[in-house]
Amino acid sequence: MNKIITREEAIEKITDGARIMVGGFGLVGSPLSLIEAIAKSNLKDLEIISNNLGEPGKGLGVLVQKKQVKKAIGSYFTSNPEVVHAYQQQELQVELIPQGTMSEAIRAGGAGIGGFYTPVSVGTQLAEGKEERVLKGKKYVLQESLHADVALIKAKKADRLGNLIYSKSARNFNPMMATAADIVIAEVEEVVEVGQISPEEIVTPHLYVTYIVVKGEN
């Protein structure tokens, strides 16, 4: 089975209003080639789950400029002043989750867990409306897990089956997002033959990966 497709074919898997996870910590480890292809498309009303929304005119920031994003779920949007502006103009909805709670919610979503109790954010604005519960004498809030229609992730290298390895701090949210969407599209720097990545090295096993797009080969 051939998982390798072009980025244009990849974008055809996404529909208007889709909930999309996008990997990256800022621009590091973000699938910039796939994002660029969305920017060239007419996709709209997207719900993006990502730690940030890029920078002005860079990464997911381009989709904000083109008003393709309806809602963003993440932990830190202040690094893009255009996100702040779009929010104030009521062009963009934002749901803010502490970074550790967000990464765990994605991990849980991929692992079949409906939600979990975390001590983080208890007693703060971000816990408003969330169920609070005392366990072993300590207060926790309920966080529901996160799942998406599509995950767009970035890896360093794939083999033809879709086994993935990552590069340095570009790993970040990508391995969890690879587990937590119906369709997972991995943008990679290179594809090698099966067997050329040691089983000990593989971070994301191939069963999670639906499609592979090779960066710069379109």
Binding site: F25, V28, V84, G100, S103, V120, S121, M176
Partner: protein, 220 residues
């Protein structure tokens, strides 16, 4: 040494050999420059690195190797990379010994506000709440007053709370406080700073610790 560097250098003295340490953005980042050569610590960065090294020269910058402030870093021997869920499991699970954080305000019980400003859109929290909740020891490094000259050590927070968890120590350019069940305790004043000055510039009430060292005006 400017005041921020002074605060960072003072905070560095609190680190112990073998500590796993997370440094926040701003003054906390500077702490790395002042750690004694005979104290080996392991710097943790919440975007997925244990064993962060110094800032690289421009020719050696790797775009895929950044710290939580998105600035280029290097890694030392024995370093490891991991995903964000694992990184925050380390933090929330109590595996990080010390976090050094900046604040907007700290109240007289030692609770802090460091993620949002009233009246502005609240669009960023990052790892602030996780680090405060989970780290074994939390040290605050901050200028004593804000840009309007108002005390950042206040009776009651007027900015949104980061966590119900109290910090353990507060280090400013004027003084060092520990946080106890009874509130803030003054441990020391900076060289050349009198107790009266600290009292004048601090809105929060505090007690003077039995350990308060008046001699540090000359010895520090």
């Amino acid at each position: 040494m400017n005041v921020k560097q002074y605060i960072a250098a003072r905070a560095a003295k609190e680190l112990c050999h073998g500590d796993v340490v997370n440094l926040g953005i701003g003054i906390p980042t500077l702490v790395a420059n002042y750690i004694s050569p005979d104290v080996h610590v392991f710097l943790h960065s919440e975007n997925g690195i244990l064993g962060v090294g110094p800032t690289p020269e421009e020719a050696y910058v790797d775009p895929e190797l950044v710290n939580a402030g998105k600035l280029p870093v290097t890694v030392l021997g024995g370093a490891s990379f991991f995903n964000s869920a694992d990184s925050f499991a380390m933090i929330r699970g109590g595996h990080v010994n010390v976090s050094i954080l900046g604040v907007l305000q700290v109240d007289e019980a030692g609770r802090i506000a460091n993620w949002a400003v009233p009246g502005k859109s609240v669009l960023g929290v990052g790892g602030a709440m996780d680090l405060l909740e989970g780290s074994k020891k939390v040290i605050v490094t901050t200028l004593h007053t804000n840009s309007q000259g108002e005390s950042k050590l206040v009776e009651e927070l007027t900015y949104p709370l980061t966590s119900e968890r109290r910090v353990d120590m507060i280090i400013t350019e004027l003084a060092v406080f520990s946080v106890t069940d009874l509130g803030l305790e003054l441990l020391e004043t900076a060289p050349g700073v009198s107790l009266e000055t600290v009292q004048q510039k601090t809105q929060a009430s505090f007690r003077v610790s039995k350990l308060f060292n008046k001699n540090n005006e000359v010895t520090a």
